[in-house]
Amino acid sequence: MTTPDPAARLEEQIDRWRSFLRRRRAIHATDVAELEDHLREQVAGLTGAGLDAEEAFLVAVKRMGALDDLSREFAVEHSDRLWKQLVVSSGDGAEAAGARKDAIVAFCLAAAAAVAIKVPALFGLDLGRDAAFYLRNASLFVLPLLTGYFAWKRGVDARTIGWLAAAFVAAAVFANVYPFQAQVPGSAAHDPGYTELLTALHLPIALLLVVGIAYAGGRWGEVAGRMDFIRFSGELFIYYVLIALGGAVLTGLMAMTFQSIGVDVEAFFQYWLAPCGAAGAVVVASWLVEAKQSVIENMAPVLTRLFTPLFAAVLVTFLATLVLTGRGVQIERNVLIAFDLLLVVVLGLLLYSVSAREPGAPPGLFDWMQVVLVVSALLADAVALWAIAARISELGFTPNRVAALGENVVLLVNLAWSAVLYLRFLGGRGGFARLEKWQTDYLPVYAAWAAVVVIVFPPAFGYV
């Protein structure tokens, strides 16, 4: 391993020393450069005084001080550095230039999304009067731009881009060619009908798959590529909610201040700030997730850690109450939707903790908590499904009910098999990777079911 040439050997040692310094968060690249210059001067001075390169290096490093002490001193002076500053990307070098370019592209695309949502207004489509149009097409204003961002960032090949574009064109066609009926026939205002609302709800779910393929950028075929997209989606959601909260504060303050001078800004909010902000924020949030992914710990798994025990406790208590009191599930209009939402939340808790789990780690208490959560959710859902199945013919098959039932089945299948895989893992009869693979393989199923709702439901139910 030893290099005979002392100069090369010295360079090697300095390289190693530099890489040790770089790992310290409080010491930035420019500081490392400054310290390295010092080290080299010191080495030169010492070799001039008669030491050989190796000795000189050791003495110079020793004089520099222990790495921990040095790091602590820098941390005291630059305490801000322990808090990762993310938006203000300082420093120089190719990395920072790339980050800046990335930010510029993201903000241009966000602006494009904000503009896109106002384009139909040029053709006389009013956000209030033609709400149904905007609801159906909401995802089509934003997701193509987001897909474009990732296609650009990952350097997706032209063939894939063609397929992704085709998917969006198809989505635009299905969202707009069907002769949807208004909910109140004959009313002047076009309130969206049932199947129309279902389209509006399911189109984004189907199109998220397209975004995911662009996000994975050629790695969609791999479990790791799809898992990255799952991680991304959780962070995107959290960042979007944070941005939305900030937007709400901004809106509230603006309304108050303008009200004080007697100017009504409600129309501006409704027609400009809210739609443009909501559209642009998707791209901005995605960029934030990308920019910080290697810098800050993912938030979604932290939240699942906090909430998995709480949700598990609530569900177990619910089941216990059900058994002890002998109450049945009341069949109301929205009971299926309520249980769908329950399963979605449980799936989210499972998915995002799976996404953050070290696959090689041995089973722990938290894993048991997950299983309790999933199994109790399955039991609760089974009780609800049983109650509904008994009366389904009496209730009738409305589009909403069939869609909700379909979703319930999709989620139930996923969670049931997840529970089996998890129990096998806990019993030592299968690796955790199986569960990861199952979850990532299942992603297209959500999109497929959403596509069925968008494409098949309107004609099947007579466009009501």
């Binding site: 400054e34 210059d37 010492l46 040095l70």
Partner: protein, 134 residues
């Protein structure tokens, strides 16, 4: 003789500012100068100088710039600012006051304390942790 850490920390600001008031400099040269002037008695851990320089920079007492040194390496030079000169004057006043107070106390105690210069004279000539000019 080793000067204790608190004293080193307290004196680092006036020392660095005074050196930069003479001429612009960089970390290694500043440390060399400290060694030289103190006869090796003030031992600064090399790396610790930099947080001090950065603190002075944050307070606006010094300014930093990157330059290419004669050997082709990029080097960060520091220069004193007008605010730094003011600070230096202030430090000067304070240290004079401390010095004057101690001096009068030393002279009052001259007979009961061992003379400080006996050991230091020998050390100043050739000590320091490493040979300097050999």
């Amino acid at each position: 003789m080793e000067i204790n850490k608190d004293l080193i920390a307290a004196s680092s600001t006036p020392i660095v500012l005074a050196m930069l008031a003479e001429e612009d400099s960089y970390g290694y040269a500043i440390l060399q100068r400290v060694q030289e002037l103190s006869g090796g008695r003030m031992e600064w851990t090399d790396g610790m100088l930099y947080p001090v320089l950065h603190r002075l920079e944050r307070h606006g007492f010094v300014e930093a710039r990157w330059e290419t040194a004669e050997n082709g390496r990029r080097r960060k030079y520091y220069s004193i600012t007008p605010a730094g000169r003011e600070q230096l004057a202030e430090e000067h006043r304070q240290w004079e006051a401390v010095d004057a107070t101690l001096r009068s106390l030393w002279s009052a105690l001259r007979d009961s304390l061992p003379a400080p210069d006996a050991g230091a004279a020998g050390r100043a000539a050739g000590s320091g942790p490493l040979p300097q000019g050999a």
